[in-house]
Symmetry: C2
Subunit: 532 residues, 2 copies
């Protein structure tokens, strides 16, 4: 039994010594966390946008890691700083992803639902494939280190996972167009789920290469994962809604029990999906959306306040910790800098791939949208620019070190590391300036007017007092081909979903019956506790 315990597999000294090392390690981490919070607060207070909180955390991690490297810290203390994908995926990521689903503003999200899904699903697929093909071609032509095609696609998938933390916190500070915010937010959240599904599918293809699965099977397998995870997440969410509706826990002295159960559900959803071999991230994301929409309103008032603050707190801690942890590990890990060309061209390729993603998807979305709701070019540019890479790419790259043969994984890992550091520090630091240059920030007249105009279009049931209204497409007469019609039908089905939600789901899963005010109030404050 002794041989399978989850403890640092460092050479076992005395337990007291080991516990002391753990103490020092965790103490350092807490100090860095406190430092990050305080520094982030000070920087935000002085409106210094060149070093957002995430960049500051990353830098703190990098600096302390470098110092630890130089000062020859004991390995037993170091062991507490190695980035463990397992720890990341099982304990740090779930609260972050859940919070992003939980803090989602339904209005702009659902009104941009079609566009978000297009960017996140189709766009991420395009970006992954484009990156993969470019890396493969560059390898074939001896421009850079050559990797097999499947591994190129794996790299493409993992590097397509964009990180929303930094950009969104700046968006929130500067006050940008709500539609652009919803696009960036929705894309980056769903895109993680897509990237990880793609990575896993490719990894599976790679290991089953010999058994010759065809492309069709890969697609089926991917859809299975995605749809299965989504169903699991939605199912758990609905279950929790019914539980809190009928268990009668919203009396005063049961607040603790109510909160305990509420807090366990998201994690249950995550682990259920993982246990079934599905994607926990996709699952917990949808659980977050469903729980906020239905279960949350079945809680007592006190518990509502508490769980909002709780998830916000936990996810802030996890987010900040992820960047520190990543910085520290980057400074400590062995990197293979021999393939500097690989890094350089990768950066170029992801820029191209992101452009292929954003501009092609925006073109598709604009085909179907009415004239006044088309995604303007400056929003497309902002979207392209805001694709910085973060912890998800890093964790997947670290996993690829185990998945891929010696050398290949190392090269991918080093390239990803470099891309993460560069994009977080450079893009993170310049987003403010960039957004100002593109004139998509600030509360100026034009932006606000545009927003309210745009909002009046598709978003329906969440604040209308006149019942359900069909969306009006003013640009409808200008074109009539079948493809556009299909897309519009899809868009209509989104609208009819909101009606279905209002008429059937909400009354069934929550204790409110058509009480619009309560509903509005419910979602009104979700912006404050946003993702950042």
């Amino acid at each position: 039994m002794e041989d399978m315990r989850i403890s640092p597999a460092v050479p076992r000294g005395s337990p007291a010594k080991e516990q002391q090392a753990a103490g020092v390690g965790i103490l350092l981490q807490i100090m860095m966390l406190v430092l990050s919070f305080v520094l982030g607060h000070v920087l935000r207070r002085h409106r210094f946008y060149y070093l957002p909180e995430a960049s500051a955390s990353l830098l703190i991690g990098l600096i302390v890691g470098a110092l630890a490297n130089i000062s020859n810290t004991e390995t037993s203390i170091r062991a507490w700083f190695n980035f463990h994908e397992e720890f990341f995926f099982l304990f740090l990521l779930p609260p972050i992803i859940f919070q992003s689903g939980f803090s989602l503003q339904p209005k702009p999200f659902f009104s941009n639902f079609g566009a978000i899904v297009t960017f996140a699903i189709f766009g991420t697929f395009v970006a992954s494939v484009v990156t993969g093909i470019l890396v493969y071609l560059a390898g074939v032509t001896y421009l850079i280190y050559k990797l097999p095609f499947v591994e190129c696609l794996m790299f493409g998938a993992l590097i397509s996972a964009t990180d929303p933390v930094t950009v969104l916190s700046i968006f929130q500070e500067l006050g940008t167009d709500v539609n652009l915010y919803a696009l960036v937010f929705g894309e980056s959240v769903l895109n993680d789920a897509m990237a990880i599904s793609l990575y896993r599918t490719m990894s599976l293809v790679r290991s089953n290469m010999s058994s010759g699965q065809n492309f069709f099977m890969v697609v089926v397998r991917f859809l299975e994962t995605f749809v299965g995870s989504m169903s699991a997440g939605v199912g758990v969410g609905f279950t929790s809604a019914l539980l809190f509706k009928y268990a009668g826990l919203d009396i005063d002295n049961l607040q603790n029990l109510e909160c305990c159960l509420f807090v366990l559900f998201p994690y249950f959803s995550y682990m259920l999906a993982e246990g079934l071999g599905l994607s926990g991230i996709v699952s917990i994301l949808f659980t977050g959306i469903v729980m906020k929409h239905y279960s949350f309103s079945n809680l007592s008032d006190k518990s509502q306040k508490f769980v909002s603050a709780f998830f916000h707190l936990i996810s802030s801690l996890a987010e900040t910790f992820v960047f520190i942890y990543m910085g520290f590990d980057i400074a400590m890990e062995q990197h293979s800098w021999s393939h500097i060309g690989f890094i350089f061209f990768s950066i170029l390729f992801i820029g191209i791939a992101r452009a292929a993603n954003v501009f092609s998807c925006a073109y598709l979305v604009n085909l179907v949208r009415p004239a006044h709701r088309k995604i303007p070019m400056k929003h497309q540019k902002a979207l392209w620019y805001s694709g910085l890479r973060g912890a998800m790419a890093f964790a997947l790259a670290l996993q690829s070190v185990h998945d891929l043969p010696e050398g290949h994984g190392q090269t991918i890992f080093t390239a990803t590391t470099a891309i993460v550091v560069l994009t977080v520090l450079l893009i993170g630091g310049s987003t403010g300036t960039m957004l100002e240059a593109l004139q998509v920030v600030g509360d100026d007249h034009d932006t606000l007017g545009e927003v309210s105009h745009a909002l009046s279009g598709e978003e329906l049931s969440f604040d209308t007092n006149n019942g359900y209204r069909a969306p009006t497409y003013e640009g409808e007469s200008s074109s009539g081909n079948r493809f556009k019609m299909k897309l519009k039908e899809l868009s209509k089905s989104t609208a009819s979903f909101t009606a279905f939600d209002k008429n059937y789901l909400t009354p069934f899963f929550t204790s409110q019956n058509g009480d619009e005010d309560e509903h509005d109030e419910l979602f009104g404050d979700s912006r404050g506790g946003g993702y950042g």
Copy 2:
């Protein structure tokens, strides 16, 4: 770097498989947690005191563990259920101990401070030594398995750590005398710190046996640990109080930052002490007391509500999880049942040792107390009876398996396991009946009268509106020897501490200045969020 990662050291399958196993393992744990909470709630609702929540959790763990044992679960899933002392000491224990300090009711605690310290420090020492000597003597006379004297003392120390969870939750339910409650609560909390300090000191003595340290050095080393840890804890608490007093974080939109920092302080205190080679438990306990007393009142109203609920939630989760985890591990571990006599006599010995502890300490305390405040015999009996053993003893016993030579550690571990299961199930299940038999429960006239009478004696500054009053000892004239005078001086110094607190500490560390009402309200609701 690969060789020192903190991941289950199971034979490394594919990462996906491993993550799936982790998912299943954690999923099972969450399901058991939910089951425990729901079962505990149902049992409490039906006032069924024969199976308190902790016993229910332990049983659930035992049953699921036995099933997993029979069904031959994969080792990679099992690995998630092994009880890891490190995980217990670093992540589960800190919130539980902090909460017990944080939810402490200052009034009855400080009015019984002398008695509590006597029971916890002197009493635990007596109990440890008595148990150790009895086990040693029984070994020498070939009655039971023979252990060296130091190891007997180690066993005595670890088995003297009593667990408050179950008994206190029953006390809270049944509504007992506040003084008895304070005694049991205070003793069991401080006693953990004492037991772990004793265990570590003995462990140190054992490993340095050859270098011939004398008894004096051992005492110095113990005091060093205890006083050092206490100072560290109090220091961190005071630092946090000053930070929250002057940082100006109590404005509305900084609530999250305020809570993040507040939540990090206790853990900081724990890890600081561990990092310095001191006792984190002692440290975090005092940080809890100080933070509740000073820092807490410097928070904004919203944050006060939030952090109270937060610590209550986290500690409930940790407590319940500890019992499940322990039950599961007990069902899974290899036990050496060959020394059944050792188990039987140990149970006898700890009963004797606990009697030596309680009755001798009560005698000492009663010597100095005035006639109306003497600890009545029925309280002493209740105190003796409520000494069930829990997670702390279990974790230390598990550690002893590493610390001690083959066979010795196993014997101690098995005996401790048996004692924990028996005491939790039997004592936990019969406490309600026992308390009723002793007539120390219920809101009957006698109990309440006694309480208010007892309260009027020593407790001073926390609710008096007439300024500081010196304690009045009506029984003073009845005796006059020097020993009793000394004890009384000690008791007076406690009283003068409360005056010092009121006049200097509270104004210095908090933003309130003599606002009695706020102060009263502040501590008034701490009972509701008690330890249980």
